[in-house]
C-alpha cells in the first residue's frame, strides 16, 4: 500500500535556539546569505523601495500635467523624471519583484532545498542592487565631461541618435547604459538559475507534467530572459562604443542607422513585456484554483499556451515601430504575429474562467485581485489588438492611448496579480496573515484609482495628447481629463500606502497563519510558515499535480485521474 504521502517528516522539530542577537549579527547573516528565501525577500524589499521611488517620480509628473501650462517642473526635470520612472519601474521594480517571488517559491514548490547555484543567486541579487544604485548615483554624480547634467533624460528606450554625444552632453546616457547593463547580468544569472533549478532539482515524482503551473511559467519566463536580455546588453555595449571610443553604430552621418537601435531595443523590449506578465499568469494559476476550490482547468493547454507565448513573443517586436516606415510587407508580418499571440493568451483567460465556473468561489483579498486582473488584463489585451493594427497605430502611436494601454497591462494586469500574490503568500513568508479589512480597503481604493487614471488616459490619448511632453496649452479639452488622471494617481498612492501599512502591521500583529491557511495544494504549504532554512527535512515525493490534496484526501487522491501512459491507465483499471 502506498497511499500515504511521506510529507509528515517535512520539518525538523528540534526547538530553535532563540537568543537575542546583535543588529550587526543579523545584518551579517542577511548580507552573506545564500538561502533562496532570504534572497527572494531581499529582492522583494529592494523592489518595494524602488516602487516608492518610481511612484514619487510619477506623482511629480502628474502634478505637472494636472493643469495646462504648469510651471511646477522644468522641461529638463520632466525629461529626467519620465526616463527614471520607466527605467526604474521595469528594471528595478517589476523584474526583480517577480524574480524575488520566483526565488522564494520555485524551490519550495518543486520540493528542493535551495536553488541550483545558491552563490550565483546571491551574486545576481547584489549585482542587480548595485546596478540599480549606479543609475541613481547619477543624481549626485558630477556634471558630465561636456558640462551637461548626468541624470538620464532620453526615455526608457533611449532612442538613437538622442543618446549620441552630440545630443546627450552629460553622462546621463552612460549611467543609463551601464546601470541597466549591470542589472542585466544579475537578471541573466537569476534566470539561468531558475531554469537549472526547475530542470535539475525537482523532488522525486515531480515530473514536468506535475509541476505547479507557476513553476512552469517561471521556467518559460526565465528561458525567455536568458535569450532576450543579451540583445539589450549588446546594444548598450554598442552605444558605449559609440559614445566613448568614437564608434559609428548609430551615427547616421557615418552611414550608421538610428532605426537599428530601435530594432535591437524592441527585440529585447517586447519579450520583456511577456517576461513580466508570465509570472503574473503564474500567480493567477496558483491563486484562482485554490479560491475556486477546483483543480486548474486545462493544465496541458495552459502549459502549451505558455510555451507558445514564449516563442511567439520573439517575433512581434516591430509592432512598436509601425511609424518608422518599414514597408507594407514587414508591417503586415508584424500585425499578424501580434494578433496571433493573442490566441494563446485568450486560451489562458478562458481556462481561468472555466476554473472559476461552477467552483465554490471564496472572495478573499488575493482572489479579489485575481478577478480584477481577469477584467483588466482582457481590456488591456483588446487595446493591444487595436494598436497592433498598423493603420490604427499610425494614428495613435506615441500618444497617451499607448501609455494607457501598457499601463493597463503592467498595473491592471501584472501589479494586480502581484498584490494577489502578496496577500496569498505573505502568511507563508512571515507566518502571519495580512489584514483582510485593510486588504479590502487597499483593493477597492486601488481599483478606483486605477480606473480613474487609466480609463481616462485612453480618452486624452484619443484626443491627440502625445506622450513625453512636459506641458500643454489650455483650450484643447485635455485639461479636465488630465485633472481626473492626476486625481486617480493620488488615489492609487493612498491605496499603496494602505498596502504598505498592512504589510508592516501584519508582520508584527497579524494573526498566526499556521502551515496552510488557505487549504491549498502545492508543496510550499507542507512545510512551516516561515519555512526553515532547509525547507524540507525529508525530500518530499509527489504523485500528482496536487500533492497536498492527495495527503488530505486519501480516499480520493488526484493520481487516480492523472494518467500519462497507457500502462498507468491499464494498471489502474
Amino acid at each position: 500500500m502506498a497511499d500515504s504521502i511521506p510529507l509528515s517528516g517535512a520539518t525538523d522539530l528540534t526547538p530553535e535556539d532563540k537568543h537575542s542577537r546583535l543588529f550587526l549579527e543579523v545584518m551579517h547573516e542577511w548580507i552573506v546569505t545564500t538561502d533562496h528565501k532570504k534572497i527572494g525577500l531581499m529582492y522583494i524589499a529592494a523592489s518595494l523601495m524602488f516602487l516608492a521611488v518610481g511612484g514619487i517620480e510619477v506623482l511629480l509628473m502628474r502634478i505637472q500635467l494636472a493643469v495646462p501650462e504648469s510651471k511646477f517642473l522644468t522641461p529638463e526635470h520632466y525629461n529626467q523624471l519620465f526616463t527614471l520612472h520607466g527605467t526604474t519601474m521595469i528594471f528595478f521594480v517589476a523584474m526583480p519583484i517577480l524574480f524575488g517571488f520566483a526565488n522564494y517559491m520555485v524551490p519550495l514548490m518543486i520540493g528542493a532545498r535551495d536553488m541550483a547555484f545558491p552563490r550565483l543567486n546571491a551574486y545576481s541579487f547584489w549585482i542587480f542592487l548595485f546596478g540599480a544604485l549606479l543609475l541613481y548615483f547619477s543624481l549626485i554624480g558630477g556634471k558630465g565631461i561636456y558640462g551637461g547634467s548626468s541624470v538620464p533624460d532620453v526615455g526608457w528606450f533611449a532612442y538613437a541618435p538622442l543618446t549620441s554625444k552630440a545630443f546627450s552632453h552629460g553622462n546621463g546616457s552612460d549611467y543609463w547604459a551601464l546601470g541597466i547593463f549591470i542589472t542585466g547580468i544579475g537578471t541573466i544569472g537569476t534566470a539561468l538559475n531558475i531554469v537549472v533549478t526547475t530542470i535539475c532539482m525537482r523532488c522525486k515524482g515531480m515530473k514536468l507534467s506535475r509541476m505547479p503551473l507557476f513553476v512552469w511559467l517561471m521556467l518559460v519566463t526565465s528561458m525567455m530572459a536568458v535569450a532576450a536580455i543579451p540583445p539589450l546588453s549588446a546594444a548598450q555595449i554598442m552605444l558605449l562604443i559609440d559614445r566613448h571610443l568614437g564608434g559609428h553604430f548609430f551615427d547616421t552621418q557615418a552611414g550608421g542607422s538610428a532605426v537599428l537601435w530601435a530594432h535591437f531595443f524592441w527585440i529585447f523590449g517586447h519579450p520583456e513585456v511577456y517576461i513580466l506578465v508570465m509570472p503574473a499568469f503564474g500567480f493567477m494559476n496558483e491563486i484562482i484554483p485554490v479560491f475556486s476550490r477546483k483543480a486548474i482547468f486545462g493544465y496541458p493547454a495552459m502549459v502549451a499556451a505558455s510555451v507558445g507565448i514564449g516563442f511567439i513573443s520573439f517575433t512581434v517586436w516591430a509592432h512598436h515601430m509601425f511609424t518608422v516606415g518599414m514597408g507594407a510587407a514587414a508591417n503586415t508580418a508584424f500585425v499578424l504575429s501580434s494578433m496571433i499571440i493573442a490566441v494563446p493568451t485568450g486560451i489562458k483567460i478562458f481556462n481561468w474562467l472555466a476554473t472559476m465556473w461552477g467552483g465554490k468561489i471564496q472572495f478573499t483579498v488575493p482572489m479579489l485581485f485575481c478577478t480584477a486582473f481577469l477584467f483588466q488584463f482582457t481590456l488591456a489585451g483588446l487595446t493591444g489588438i487595436m494598436l497592433a493594427v498598423a493603420p490604427f497605430n499610425w494614428q495613435l502611436h506615441n500618444s497617451y492611448f499607448v501609455i494607457a494601454h501598457f499601463h493597463y497591462v503592467i498595473i491592471g494586469g501584472i501589479l494586480f496579480a502581484l498584490f494577489g500574490a502578496f496577500y496569498y503568500w505573505f502568511p507563508k513568508m512571515t507566518g502571519r496573515m495580512m489584514s483582510e479589512t485593510l486588504g479590502k480597503w487597499h483593493f477597492w481604493l486601488f481599483v478606483l484609482g486605477f480606473h480613474m487614471t487609466f480609463d481616462f488616459m485612453h480618452i486624452v490619448g484619443l484626443l491627440g495628447m502625445p506622450r513625453e511632453i512636459y506641458t500643454y496649452e489650455p483650450g484643447n479639452h485635455w485639461a479636465i481629463w488630465n485633472m481626473i488622471v492626476t486625481t486617480g494617481a493620488f488615489v492609487q498612492a493612498v491605496a499603496i500606502i494602505v498596502f504598505l501599512v498592512n504589510l508592516v502591521r501584519s508582520h508584527f500583529k497579524g494573526e498566526l497563519a499556521g502551515n496552510d491557511p488557505w487549504d491549498a495544494w502545492t508543496l510550499e504549504w507542507a512545510t512551516t510558515s516561515p519555512p526553515p532554512s532547509y525547507n524540507f527535512a525529508e525530500e518530499p515525493m509527489v504523485r500528482s499535480r496536487r500533492p497536498l490534496w492527495d495527503l488530505k484526501h486519501p480516499e480520493d487522491p488526484d493520481w487516480k485521474y492523472e494518467f500519462e501512459t497507457e500502462n498507468e491507465m491499464t494498471a489502474h483499471r
Binding site: M1, A2, D3, A116, F117, I188, A191, L192, N193, V195, V196, I199, C200, M201, R202, K204, G205, M223, V226, A227, A228, I229, P230, P231, S233, A234, A235, I237, M238, I241, D242, L245, G246, G247, H248, F249, D251, Q253, A254, G255, G256, S257, L260, F264, I267, M541, V542, R543, P554, E555, D556, W559, K560, N567, E568, A571, H572
Partner: protein, 198 residues
Amino acid sequence: MTTIPFPYDVKDDPWELPYRGSVGMWCLITAELSMFLIFVVAYIFYMGKSLSGPTPKEVLHLPVFDTICLLSSSITIHLSVNGLKKNSQMVFIGWLAGTVLLGLIFLLGTAKEFTDLIYKHNFTISTSLFGTTFYSLVGLHAAHVIIGLLMLSVVLVLGLFGRVRQEQFNHFHSLSMYWHFVDAVWVVVFTVVYVVGR
C-alpha cells in the same frame, strides 16, 4: 476507496535528472549566442555601408593558420576530456596544455592582425562604420577566447599540481562545452567577416 493501490510506487521509480553544470552551461551559451547574434546582425546590416575609409578587401587577410589552430583546439580539448574520463592524468594534462597553446596562438594572431591594422593601415574602431563593426565583433570573440583561456589555464595549473581528479569530470566537461562554443562562434565570425564580408 483506499484499497485501490497506486499503480506503481514512486520510491521505486528511477529518478535521474540532468547534471546542473551542463544545463547551466547550455543556458549561458544561449545567452552568449543571443548577444553574438546581435553583433553579427549589425555587421551584416552595415556591410558595404561605410561612407569612408578602407574597404574590407583592402585591409583584411584570411587568417587561415589561426583558424586551423582554434578549430583543432576543439579536438584537443575533447581528447583531454576523454583522458580525464578514463582517469589518465598524462592524456588529460597533455591535451589540455595543447589546447591552451593553440588558443594562445590564435590570440596572438588576432593581436598581430589588430596591431598591423592600427599601425600600418591607420585603421581603428573610429575610422569608419566598417572599423566599428569589425573591431567590436572580432574583439568580442577575442574577449571570449581570453576568458576561455583563463579558465583552461586555471584547470591546467590545478591539474599540474594533481588536484583535478576523475570526480571533477563533470565540471571540466562543462568548461569544455564553453570552449567548443567559442570555436563554433568563430566559424560564424570567420564566414561573415572574412569570407562573405570581404
